[in-house]
Subunit: 300 residues, 6 copies
């Protein structure tokens, strides 16, 4: 029965090591990097619970990932919840281990801070990568409350440390009120392409994804999906909701549009279950992670 | 006062028999056919509660159904909640009685299993009918957990028993993960037209409904609206939500686009109140049932 | 910290008088004018709480209102909650005081009845004004349950008392079931332009706003945004939700499209926190009020 | 099925007149007399919905009320929701009609203002009555926001108008913060017995009810149960919750302890469904109303 | 981190077979035996999620079960959700397998129907057993809606089939409205001791448990805890809540009072997550299951 | 109106400095010290919102604190949400400032970590103090996840630094599962009196408070009330709920029982609004803070 059984991601087998896996799901129960509402530490658990609905085949694309790849749920990173830099180090170390033999991690977040140590680990294996970043926020601040590490700074840190190729970074869905008129300047100076949400209104994002595929070519790409990139009507359960966002249809178009890219890892972050009263945010997260699985290169 | 009074459907009179009625609302408090989340047994009650908001005239189409027809709320089918085949038989018997003198039933669900016995009853009166079926799921499985009767099989059963005209069946909104790449094959083999949700994205469904009206002509048509055909942002309160669905605007376009068809019955199913925290699913269901009333042939 | 501090509107300073202010936020904790669900008396408090997320600059338009204007939160109108006409008089008196020296009030509602006494106060200062009215309902009934004052009558009363210029009134988003086929007739007879929701489906409202700007010219304009103008998926927390409504994107287009108008006041009404389980309605209200601030004439 | 059918009170027959009835349930969908949170206008509807769980016989007392009396649900008072004095007059008139031939009304509230016009109607039939009043609040203020009629004043008004016998009034459960140290003085001056909640802590109220039965003798008694008399853990869904209240066990002891009294009417008020997220307040209200039915004199 | 990791019961290892286990937790995701609200199919999952809070040692009793026994979470019974008799057979077969080598099952429910097939399996191993049954309902009906198997009949069926020793059965917490004055007669005729809830009010149940230990002696005992035995303020998330119930303190006293008994199995049933908005019902269930573990004979 | 106005604590004036104040309310929006569920950063805001219900006089004790003292809401500590030791330092510094001229701080939490820096500040002014600590947890761990500072360690740290007089510390309400049988050993070795919850079951705590008053004499005492000391039925909105806890009546008895002590500060911590669906936890917190105000020595 669908309602039964241990709630592993998509009811996959649970195993702790990644030997022999083509891809894995891994949780990052982190929320001490959040600036507004917390609660994302329970994101991985809730995404797993909602993922029980998911079946094996993608009805829209025909992808059948489990026929093409070995995939498992490898549980959560065991991290220090009282010290953010240590938590980042815990994450980096675990992901280094995951990626070293070629297993592709798809991470269940957790707050967006986690993308920074994940990208550090990705860099060790793949060098600087391209980035498809869906988010209401640029997350390229230098400091938040005076700190270098927080969920508003991961891509600044990652860029500074050579984890990203500046002109292979695209940010989609930026919007809302900001601290300063120059908030996106630094990103643009690095060569990031910043697509504001209102540029996406009332239209399909398939044409944009054609451009993204051209931009990335065969370069290794990381896919970071902050669920707040979507409009709050689709994803109310998040810490920093901003109105006027992407539709979940556009979210699907973006992930499906990554088919053909050399995706080496991905994450779905900022699901905050205590604010996800109707469960739709976690459900959406689970679906988007399934879609990420479906576009990996080994999937026919 | 709108907040007051017994919560009958749209505050209509409650009566048990259908003598003299052109149309009626009838509840089917069923949920033991559900595969995932249950709770739809309370769908009829919640739809009635939310329907208290509804007034008499359709502001968009000008339809004023109560000026043209006798309509009542005839209560709920008294069904066996511990035995699904018996419950189906209870439903079939009640609907046979409703339709025999020409009263058009609009059913408040209840899980989608119910459409099978309703179609059996409809067939007794009208023979094989056309079907406009809005749903995320094809509901044409042969078996679920080894059983012939469940909410994923009603249209398979109905087709097998000659209740449907295969090439007068259209399914709109199919999507999500499926069990097998061939999940829609059987339906297409019967001549069903299967419209996947992504074929509907970013556009009006009015052109599609022109085609539907051509497909159906004057043939008797049944309208089965699984609320999960809509996106979870509009209808979170359902048992098997799938992202990337129809908008409620498209839902309205579909029902309004049925104006001119010879609609002999309809249902609005899969509203699950315990998951409908903000009440919008039941409210949407109540509105769609009002729209169904507005397109019946006796309404000018 | 964003989570901390007294929840004033957008964390602005709180002060009781309006001396020296270019604009102010003011709450109207009223719900005894509602016909269906109540609860809007807590709208101002909840909008303030959710507004804590808002930062200083509008990322889409570049507007930076606090650099151009003196703005404060002046608290709530102290009104009689047991007697609606007296409450209206309390509101009128307070707004007379606010507007007399040129401070532009942006009101946090509160049920829509409040727009009537606000428009009375606006008239004292500016004479008859134009009106951009977003709503699912025309709110131009003559009587509700036999009473002249209620949330379904404010614009009838305001027009009768010479507060509005009939051919400079536009109502956007009308829809749902109505009491009578002629429900919009009176409004149209006054010269109001009534845009039904289905006229807005599937498209940008920027072209409409070009027309609105032409219609209004330099005339003083009041902006009244009933949150139920938006679809319930964006604004479930309201008393009279109607499906098939405007998107929050269209809501943003309308408010941003008012840039250039001579806006002399505005309100955001009908947020009902007890029905706003996920907080998105109040959040949307807070954002729309920020957008109103951003289009005031003093903002560059 | 229990989940099915029109939600009348305890699934009783619905009828509009009281001819031949020994007792009736009647709703009063009022909330414009509330001082804090509103929402009680939906109390009657929600109490009816939750009452569907109730069966016929009281397992603790053995009472089987439907075997001894004719009882029906007579729907709700049709009242003016925009004008509190008029609403009171609507209530008074309806209850006059109910009681005139001896039918005992058990009212589903609705805010506590309603007890005032009900007591007016009771007086017409029975003269001044005794009162068992369970409440966190004395509801004997002279004025609220300057008004004579509101949910904090009904027993002051009723006493002034000769509806109550002062030394046959008992108030149980008073507590919380108050406006003034003398808040209970007026009540005590009238001879009311005021039992503060802390006098009830950690003990059975059966001994108190022995005293109540002595106090009342055979005099006609009205029973007014404000659900906020109970602790918020039992009745969170109310507008003015106060901690440290009665347990629902004590509530049952009070109502059951009225067995033997000449109860001529009763009400259960202040259930506010939008704040009753888990439905337990309405469920408790439904049960207490059933208990009231069970202690009427005609029940053996 | 507590928030992280796969949500197995109390974060125990998950394994499918019971070899070498002294006790195990096993879920029964069943709800098609419910008469009122459904949703208990998700009970096991939610209890597991909430159990993540639990640590190793019982602070009140000093019990440290994992130091004394091998315990695991063996997942859920794979049962037929569309056919209740088949589901019972699935349960019986799985529990036969669990108990055959002496592993003590502690079951996470699931509706109360499940106790019937579990007791069948227990009988195969241990013969007729004693029963400590906490519940608001006697669950000894002969038929529900004409069916032999449902959540109101398990102990009738179990008694009829010789699974129980009549004078070693105690039912604690019975209350609420019932169908007939003789509803408890059959149980008493079998020798069951029926303790009504009001007999438990205002007191410790430790004295009662002394009697229970005398009644049971060394006989094998099954412990069946219907969470609706507790008052709805402690356990709102259940399908048939009845006010005036046991406190969770009394629940703890009952389970702790079973220390010394020869407990051969137990269940905690009727947790319905969709109605458990604040999660406290599942949390209480998880705690009571931990307490059951702590009183097993192997625990010092 | 009660629903209106800026939500300061108990609608007190807001001011940033403490000059001339006898007591003040101050918020500590902290949650990065939590081990289980987070969300307490919003505790202060929610407590303020719910406190709007509170009136001026304590009906049970007659205390009228505002007639005897100058009290204000001084807003929240501005703290570093990404670094727990720095946040503690921010708290310590602010409280040093508050207490230095004799103003008594009553703190709105916020996770329990905050009591450590508050006690540091208290010590600067008053030396080592007595402590009345209500909690399900002893909070005297040495380390959590290897860290010295977290919400499970404040009283260990405070004791180590000489902020507490060991034999003037009482912990009331300890319960639940613990990590190790010796979890309370360290506390008892310091002379702390540890009262487990089950020692409090079924009785008034007034006799205990007599002992507490003897234990404390005239020594300065700090009062730390972790809302999870109460049973989850009263306080579900907290991060580490444990069943079988104190009643809110016992909570009131404890605080009222502190009347006569030389209370130099207090806090009410661990209110987590995202888990406080019905608002009762924050409401209870607000009431307990009012009760703390009422027992300060300057209150007659
Ligand atoms: Mn982000
Ligand atoms: Mn973001
Ligand atoms: Mn379906
Ligand atoms: Mn479906
Ligand atoms: Mn309006
Ligand atoms: Mn409206
Ligand atoms: Mn009252
Ligand atoms: Mn009251
Ligand atoms: Mn049971
Ligand atoms: Mn039961
Ligand atoms: Mn603590
Ligand atoms: Mn604690």
């Amino acid at each position: 029965v669908r309602a039964g059984g241990i709630a592993s991601m998509m009811r996959l087998p649970v195993q702790s090591d990644t030997t022999g896996l083509d891809a894995c799901f891994v949780g990052v129960p982190l929320d001490i990097g959040t600036s507004n509402r917390s609660g994302t530490r329970y994101g991985p658990r809730q995404i797993r619970c909602e993922s029980a609905l998911l079946r094996k085949v993608n009805s829209a694309t025909g992808a059948s990932p489990y026929d093409c790849m070995q995939v498992a749920d490898i549980g959560d990173v065991n991290l220090n919840l009282y010290n953010l830099p240590k938590a980042c180090e815990d994450i980096r170390r675990r992901f280094s281990d995951i990626v070293k033999d070629g297993c592709i991690p798809l991470a269940l977040g957790g707050d967006h801070t986690m993308s920074y140590p994940i990208l550090q680990a990705i860099k060790e294996k793949h060098g600087a990568v391209g980035l498809v970043h869906i988010d209401a926020h640029s997350d390229t601040h230098d400091l938040m409350l005076g700190e270098k590490i927080a969920h508003g700074t991961p891509f600044r840190r990652a860029m500074e440390e050579g984890c990203l190729v500046g002109n292979k970074v695209i940010q989609i869905g930026l919007r809302g009120s900001i601290y300063d008129t120059g908030d996106y300047d630094w990103a643009r100076e690095q060569g990031f392409r910043c697509i504001q949400a209102h540029e996406c209104w009332h239209k399909s994002l398939e044409p944009l994804m054609v451009e993204v595929r051209e931009m990335m070519g065969n370069h290794p790409v990381y896919l970071s999906f902050d669920i707040d990139g979507l409009d709050p009507c689709f994803a109310p359960g998040t810490g920093t909701p901003e109105i006027g966002g992407l539709t979940s249809i556009q979210g699907l178009e973006i992930v499906r549009g990554c088919k053909g890219l050399n995706v080496v890892g991905g994450d779905l972050v900022e699901v905050s279950p205590p604010y996800d009263v109707q469960g739709t945010t976690a459900l959406t997260g689970a679906n988007l992670l399934f879609e990420m699985l479906c576009i990996l290169q080994k999937v026919k």
